[in-house]
Symmetry: C2
Subunit: 202 residues, 2 copies
DNA sequence: GCAACGGGTTAACGAGCGTTAACCGGGAGG
DNA sequence: CCTCCCGGTTAACGCTCGTTAACCCGTTGC
């Protein structure tokens, strides 16, 4: 994972290495994008937030859109890789789904900015970056759907996908939500998601 | 409802009346804002989408921000008024909560653009409009919380609010979700939300 | 010691934005 | 018939943005 042969300009090799500075910029930019939206944040804003100014960012990224792309790719890749790693060591289907829920809740609680950006600005990307991100997202949904379907034979394929996305919406409500103790919030979100995904009582 | 004494310029009285043109502009703008974000849509875009061009919009609204404000105020007001109306005729606490869930699901399925805009761009507003919208949103959350707490004595006040917002996240997942039959989607969302909000099995 | 380079600076550009100004046609009221 | 106003138009202003250019300094390799 983590590369997927994503060479954006291909002629600026150093713009791909992972340096602390690059990571700092990505983290800061994600926060700003989450707070004010992609178009609501200027390069000057991002630069100022990391202590450098405006055009210096082009020493690290090819463009503003490139910054957003790296944010989203990193986020979607992290989620997908984590989920696949989980599934390889799952005892039962029930355990697999519960593990996915818990992991996603952890991610959402730890990276609220990435969650927000991922769900609202993936359309601001250029076609190629958008395709990459979309691929990861769809794959992630598929992992969940595959985990859910054996437990819910009452759901058709598309219904199962919709149910999964509804569960994402629930878990991703974290950034918009009241501030309570992290552990309490984690417990609340996971039990709610698990109940939402379980079969109705009938 | 629907006014809350919101006179924005106070010197342009006709900018408050509800004309078909104004409503058309608001609807179109909501779609555009939902698709590309507030800052990603220009006045020219909005004008073009309703068949007039750019500056003509100032014959109907004071500013771009005013358009967004009217969108959000209308949406939050509609939700709140509907919820209060429901509660006045609810038989049991259970029935009240179920009615709220069903109504919210209806709204989300009918107005996906308003849902998206409401949850992502209320911070692009000026202080006074933001306060208005926030007030409606908080009141709406309170209505839900008041309906939920008698059913879930195990939840503290802030936990109940977080649970309500998690349920919103679930129900609001509609716009991001796969396209399935509206009735099926409604059934899926309501049962999931009701299960998510019900007490854990223990 | 010096060339190369990584990472920063400020200045400047061109485009696009929100908004205002000035103008105009048509229908209603007296 | 003249007047007003409602809802359009196009032109223009000023500002901000993303991006490029030109320059600079400290560190490193030869």
């Amino acid at each position: 994972m983590v590369d997927t042969t994503g060479h954006p300009p291909a002629d600026l090799p150093r713009l791909l290495h992972v340096t602390p500075r690059r990571q700092q910029i990505l983290d800061t930019a994600a926060d700003l994008f989450a707070a004010r939206g992609f178009h609501g944040v200027s390069m000057g804003d991002i630069g100022a937030a990391v202590g450098i100014s405006g055009p210096a960012l082009y020493k690290h990224f090819a463009s503003k859109e490139d910054i957003l792309g790296q944010c989203l790719l990193h986020a979607s890749d992290q989620l997908l890789a984590g989920a696949r790693e989980l599934l390889s060591g799952a005892a039962s289907p029930q355990a697999a789904l519960h593990a996915l829920v818990a992991r996603h809740a952890d991610f959402a609680l730890d990276n609220p900015a990435l969650i927000v950006v991922q769900e609202r600005e993936w359309d601001a990307l250029g076609t190629e970056a958008r395709a990459q991100v979309r691929k990861h997202q769809l794959a992630y949904i598929d992992v969940w759907t595959d985990a859910l379907r054996p437990l819910r034979p009452d759901l058709g394929a598309t219904e199962a996908r919709a149910a999964v996305q509804a569960a994402f919406g629930l878990l991703n409500s974290t950034p918009h939500s009241a501030r309570i103790n992290r552990a309490t919030m984690h417990a609340l979100l996971t039990t709610m998601a698990n109940q939402a995904l379980s079969a109705p009582a009938r």
